[in-house]
């Protein structure tokens, strides 16, 4: 694999398919498979969030998709550039015992192990019941977020191509 076609973008869908709207991230990455360019690495993660630091090691650009507790309207999608700043208070859940995505991002920032560009797409979930499918409002957001991510990836790759040929 040459430098030009080595994966330069990683897309990670975080969540548990069997916990209602927590399956949003995995649903989006499934939709992206076959649509995203072959130089994009696509992962689904449901376990230890700390493993994300290993997942994005050496990857210049990373997009993380996750579900969050509702704060305004279930199905509403929020996009954050986390490269230089943490998730705003209210979007970063605090846990007494587990390292979630927000804590993992900040730990990586402390360690100097953040990618050059880190973007998060978060959807407000409605329910996280065991065995439940995605709620209709959240399911409707899957295609929209997949489209936005494909556009974002194409813009990133185009910019990279311009740099390579400059």
């Amino acid at each position: 694999m040459t430098g030009a076609d080595r994966p330069s973008v990683l897309v990670v869908g975080v969540g548990n398919r069997d916990r209602g709207d927590d399956g949003f991230g995995p649903a989006v990455v499934r939709r992206l498979r076959g649509r995203a360019p072959s130089t994009v690495r696509i992962l689904e993660r449901s376990g230890d969030a700390l493993a994300l630091i290993e997942d994005w090691d050496g990857m210049p650009s990373v997009i993380v998709i996750d579900a969050m507790a509702p704060i305004s309207e279930p199905g509403r999608v929020h996009r954050f550039d986390l490269t230089d700043s943490p998730l705003p208070i209210g979007f970063a859940p605090s846990s007494s015992h587990a390292f979630g995505v927000a804590e993992t991002v900040e730990l990586a920032r402390s360690l100097g192990r953040l990618p050059q560009c880190l973007v998060a797409y978060l959807v407000e979930g409605e329910q996280f019941r065991i065995g439940a499918p995605l709620s209709s409002a959240i399911a409707e957001a899957v295609e929209d977020v997949a489209d936005r991510i494909v556009s974002e990836i194409l813009r990133k790759l185009k910019a990279k191509g311009k740099r390579l040929h400059a």
Binding site: E54, S96, L111
Partner: protein, 429 residues
């Protein structure tokens, strides 16, 4: 000091939700309550009526940190009931699987949850700015442990590959050998982590615990052995309920387990090490000596060193098991259900985990009894807190609260398991 109440509503850096309440009356510590307010999870009732072959997938869900412990106590108890003896390669793979869980669970607790207490940081994220190398080592150790779990268990969280009689799929020698290099590196990371923690400031604090752990004729205990104690207890797992009893307390959703004859007792790394140091290889004992860990450690604040020794041992043991691995001719012994009862105790990272199942002739679970390590350590944790608070009555309230929280984290409580925990309330009246 006047009468006062100290309260910590949510104790951080433990597995699960709990709170602590301390009542100080006329300068003396009165009531000490470690309240676990995770909802009761009713796993024992969930297991009734299910098939014996469903147990491992259900009990693995009890804990995201120590699912292997639940699967191992479950598999041994049901195999005890059904009269199954597995071949040596299967036994070796189960021990290797347990090594993976000890490595990832201990590494997480030592560096990410416990070390910030000693170094004065609110959390590992803040600590990482000044101690990045130590945190990187912990991440690498955790990854190696998780890699072992993924290969043998199918996935690192709630693994799926263990079954009654063996495994659904056993790895090839080549697959296991692929982890050897990472484990050698992890062994070095474990030693460096242990040396780093040995430089922490440890309070002078000694408790006269009754230690309870497994003891095996040849091995540092993981999957097998008799239940022994520093006060002379020496029983088979089948006699656990003769000697120990679980009782309800009104302020907690977790049961408290005590020795019927003597009350509180301690399980976990300190107990394992105190009762089984002679079962560790000479190199690991030398490592413990190098960092000044006494043969019997009675200072719970120094439990972080014992965990460090156990991580190094688990890496060595995993390498030994991989080097000697010869795949079994069959991945599992086919189980035949029969009306019976089975018992087992294995060493979870946090201490002995007891399981008992009564099964009917068609393999349906009639009764299940599970006693996790944290349920067994709760009385000891409360007794520790009473002594820490008594010694620190004149301290600033926030300093004393921090010491009390650290005292709880000494035992790496897994609240989710116990409720099957932490806020601190200190009442001064």
């Amino acid at each position: 000091m006047a009468n006062k109440t100290l309260r910590v509503d949510y104790i951080a850096r433990v597995e699960g939700e709990s709170s602590l309440e301390l009542h100080i009356h006329n300068g003396k510590v009165g009531t000490v309550r470690l309240s676990i307010f995770e909802p009761p999870r009713f796993f024992e009732a969930l297991l009734r009526g299910r098939g014996f072959d469903e147990v491992l997938d259900i009990v693995a869900r009890i804990c995201g940190i120590c699912p292997i412990a639940y699967q191992m106590s479950g598999v041994h108890a049901i195999e005890d009931a059904l009269g199954i003896q597995v071949e040596e390669p299967i036994r070796a793979l189960r021990r290797l699987l347990y090594c993976g869980e000890w490595i990832q669970s201990h590494a997480l607790h030592i560096v990410m949850l416990h070390a910030p207490d000693f170094l004065g940081y609110p959390d590992a994220i803040t600590m990482a700015r000044d101690h990045g190398e130590a945190v990187q080592r912990a991440l690498a150790l955790k990854k190696t442990g998780n890699d072992l779990l993924r290969l043998l268990g199918g996935r690192e969280i709630h693994p799926i590959n263990a079954r009654i009689g063996g495994f659904y799929r056993i790895p090839s020698r080549t697959e296991l050998a692929s982890l050897a290099e990472a484990l050698k590196h992890a062994r070095d990371e474990a030693v460096e982590t242990l040396r780093w923690t040995a430089g922490f400031p440890f309070p002078e604090f000694v408790r006269d615990y009754e230690f309870v752990a497994l003891r095996h004729p040849d091995e540092y205990p993981m999957n097998a052995g008799r239940i022994v104690s520093s006060a002379g207890l020496d029983i088979a797992a089948a006699d656990y309920e003769t000697e120990f009893i679980e009782r309800q307390v009104p302020y907690s959703t977790a049961l408290h387990s005590v020795l019927k004859a003597r009350g509180a007792y301690l399980v976990g790394p300190m107990a394992r090490y105190a009762l089984n140091r002679d079962r560790l290889p000479a190199e690991i004992r030398a490592l413990a000596d190098e960092v000044g860990l006494e043969p019997i450690c009675r200072n719970p604040f120094r439990s972080i060193l014992v965990r460090g020794v156990e991580v190094a041992y688990a890496c060595d043991e995993a390498l030994r098991l991989i080097a000697g691995y010869e795949p079994s001719s069959r991945p599992f012994v086919p189980p035949e259900p029969c009306a019976s009862i089975g018992y087992a105790c294995t060493e979870a990272p946090r201490g002995i985990l007891y399981h008992c199942y009564r099964i009917d002739a068609d393999g349906t679970i009639l009764d299940a009894s599970l006693v996790p390590p944290t349920a067994q350590n709760q009385d000891v944790i409360e007794e520790d807190l009473r002594e820490v608070a008594t010694a620190g009555l004149d301290l600033d309230e926030e300093v004393l609260k921090a010491q009390c929280e650290q005292s709880i984290r000494n035992h790496d409580p897994c609240i989710s398991c116990a409720a099957h925990f932490l806020k601190l309330q200190m009442h001064r009246t």
